[in-house]
Symmetry: C2
Subunit: 253 residues, 2 copies
DNA sequence: CGCCACATTGATCCTCTTCAAAGCGTGTGG
DNA sequence: CCACACGCTTTGAAGAGGATCAATGTGGCG
């Protein structure tokens, strides 16, 4: 597991602040806390950030690149539970998972920052961090919503619907951190990755993507996604965006 | 939504205590707190305990009967995210979900108890409830593990494997509260319910159950399940029980 | 140039769905 | 006590969605 500590941290936790501000209210103290995070690490594609059943190490925030929470069956079948996009946290929670429930794999080269200070703030009884706790709660709730969407896709949607739904979810997650527009975003995933996320075969993913292309609903090439008709895609997939901000308003008030 | 308050509460929260003690260490204070819960309600089969996107009301513990967290697609397709068996909690968490992420439906007539006092203890800053917080954390972590198992089943397992896996998981969850032996437990579910949980059609569930019966791996009739060869089932499904207790030991120490 | 990872295509197979009907058990009303 | 209805299970036949196998195409890169 080759950890490389970048001396002058190019990537900063700004993206994390952006995300948390998008889903909750974050005070100046909390913002300063994130801005002070500087223990940045890099990993190559394919590296494991976390190994299933290991004790969860230090909490982290992804600054750049993509990761996926995965599990394998003994015969090699792989399922992706969830993606991690920049700005999202890993093991940062009021409930520090003692044992990792899944392996986390880098899908691309990535950078993350150690969130030890955030974790300490969370677990302290200092009221100054109440808004931070709220934001983390909302983030955690969002994470659960993503898992439920995944179950819905896998259990009751067709291949066609699954892909539309997943792409819309990814767009919205990138939208939260300012890395997407309504119609365009970077998606550096192979079709194999998409297949492991949607529970399909590579070949079938390829064919469905071609269909979506033919129907002028989607372009997907060179790591760039272009949703040519987001409304149509949402109708196909019965896609509804989670409402984190509304949740934030009601919490603790 | 006909709520019936039973005057002399026949069902007590003993089963909740039993479950939490099985997955964590629970002090006398916490045990007394649960024992004092007395606001018991009953619901008929088919009633909704929680409606998706409603604000989450009072936290509860299921005392008897079965429930399921579900979501529907517009055309009527239904997916069950997770079951709830007696002893399990709903909305009891350091993170009180502001908006319910799924509808919760009573699969059988059931009883639950209002857990307002538990929630207040959790959110207080009284150190006396630290072990309670730990137990709730472990329970919440277990809940997430069940969601991940569900994703694995739906995404990458065959119908045959899914049913074996799900039945073993249910057995273990009932085992936690003393409502199952290694091989026998009550399972008052229709095949339709099983289908909605496994993402299969009713007809196919029926055929797979028959196959398991023919192979002398399983009996399932009159609401009773009999796993005739749990080891073989586990091998088929690559089933591994979650380890909540080990987790509990490491937490906060 | 040649290698490698990834995308694409065609053909065939099979798991699972759908549709339709018939059995079965239980509770209810006449 | 029987008739009937209703919910659930079971069975058969046909069809579709997706998997698998195998090969070819394509682009980046040492």
């Amino acid at each position: 597991m080759s950890l490389v500590r970048s001396r002058p941290p190019i990537a900063r936790a700004d993206i994390v602040i952006r995300r948390l501000k998008a889903i909750a209210h974050l005070g100046d103290d909390a913002e300063a806390l994130f801005a002070s995070l500087s223990d940045v690490h890099s990993l190559p594609a394919g590296a494991e950030l976390v190994t299933e059943r290991d004790t969860m190490e230090r909490p982290r925030y992804l600054l750049s690149g993509w990761a996926a929470k995965v599990r394998w069956l003994p015969d090699g079948r792989r399922q992706i539970f969830n993606f991690m996009v920049p700005g999202e946290g890993l093991g940062v929670c009021m409930r520090p998972n003692p044992l990792a429930l899944s392996t986390v794999v880098a899908l691309t080269p990535l950078q993350y920052v150690d969130a030890g200070p955030v974790q300490r703030a969370l677990l302290s009884d200092d009221d100054r961090w109440n808004d931070l706790r709220e934001a983390i709660h909302v983030a955690s709730s969002l994470g659960e919503a993503y898992l439920l969407s995944q179950i819905m896709r896998l259990g009751r949607q067709t291949a066609y619907e699954r892909l539309c739904h997943l792409l819309l979810e990814i767009r919205d997650r990138l939208l939260l951190v300012g890395m997407a527009s309504e119609t365009h975003f970077a998606m550096p995933m192979t079709q194999e990755t998409l297949a492991d996320a949607t529970g399909l075969s590579i070949v079938h993913v390829n064919r469905i993507l071609q269909q979506l292309r033919r129907e002028r609903l989607l372009e997907l090439q060179a790591g760039k996604a272009h949703l040519r008709d987001p409304a149509a895609l949402a109708a196909i997939a019965d896609y509804k965006a989670p409402q984190p901000s509304e949740a934030a308003h009601r919490f603790r008030h």
